[in-house]
Symmetry: C2
DNA sequence: CACTACTTTCATAAAATCGTGAATCTTGTG
DNA sequence: CACAAGATTCACGATTTTATGAAAGTAGTG
């Protein structure tokens, strides 16, 4: 069998995509730099890059990368690991990053629910506004419950797809 | 039966809640002023206020209110109606505002999915990065499908709760 | 059709956010 | 334990976002 040349990527186009999609994420409330770093990692074949590679790729300072990966780390979208034999850290996107990004909303929803619940008490459960908040709380409770099952189903669906297209 | 005095609200506390929760929404990517207007309406018993009431309540200019309600209107979270007999518009939160706020994400997801799909092609479906994007697309397709059923279930659940606690 | 009561637009000012460079800290190495 | 490679922090300047006041627009009313 002949050795294939590595499929050529239009780096220009990829880079532009990184910026475009990062902007979409930024519209959705992500920190801008974190979105850029995240997409740079996602589009990288290995899904892992060092801080200086990221800085070079995105034309930003090491300081900016540092802040961005800290944020991504807290969301558990990126993991840090030490590059063996060097003092460099490597940042890697988690495989189910999107899954985590969506499920990562969970603490947020919990927080919202708690505050809404306090508000319901504050407003008085028999007042129209209070009733509105009680129902809001119900909604977020429901939402969280559903999310669990949904992600369960996703994993099953994903494994099915993987078995189908990429049987290992 | 004795006529109850209207249940007294701690307006100070309600106002503080409005600000706190608006800040949470703002963290989640909402425009700040829109979040404040939204919460002001939510905490109002009638769920409806005029522009000047909102301006007074939030201590902002009419211009700020105008911008905020336009944004909320586009998301279909607030409706505008004319106050009969006056030249004032009143803004009203839709009853299933939260439902709409969550489902309103749908166009966003569609947009993301489209861009991710393009990226998958760009990267080449056989490359590791390309495969990552293919799976991302699958994920968002799955998500949108699930959201439909979920909201269906929410409506059923909500009606059940209403029948239980507030039989009319 | 002029007057009045609101609403919206727009240029500008104020405030928040973001990225940088320089300094500092951490950690591995000889 | 001194040195060096990287990572992180922080004060500052730059950019972007946000709210305002003033002006213009719109639509009821007499």
């Amino acid at each position: 069998m002949t050795q294939m040349t590595p499929p050529e990527r239009d780096e220009e186009a990829v880079s532009q995509f990184v910026e475009t999609f990062a902007a979409l994420l930024s519209d959705a409330g992500w920190q801008r730099m974190s979105a850029r770093v995240f997409m740079a990692l996602m589009t990288h074949d290995s899904g892992a890059m060092t801080a200086s590679e990221l800085a070079e790729r995105l034309q930003v300072s090491p300081a900016a990368v540092s802040g961005a990966v800290r944020y991504l780390g807290r969301l558990d979208l990126v993991t840090r690991e030490r590059q063996p034999g060097t003092r460099r850290d490597i940042y890697r996107v988690r495989n189910d990053a999107w899954h985590d990004a969506v499920m990562g909303r969970d603490p947020v929803l919990t927080q919202w629910e708690a505050r809404l619940s306090e508000a319901a008490d504050l407003l008085g459960p028999e007042t129209p506004a209070g009733r509105r908040f009680t129902e809001s709380v119900e909604f977020f409770m429901f939402l969280q419950q559903e999310l669990g099952g949904m992600m369960e189903r996703w994993r099953a669906h994903r494994d099915e797809l993987r078995a189908k297209y990429d049987p290992r």
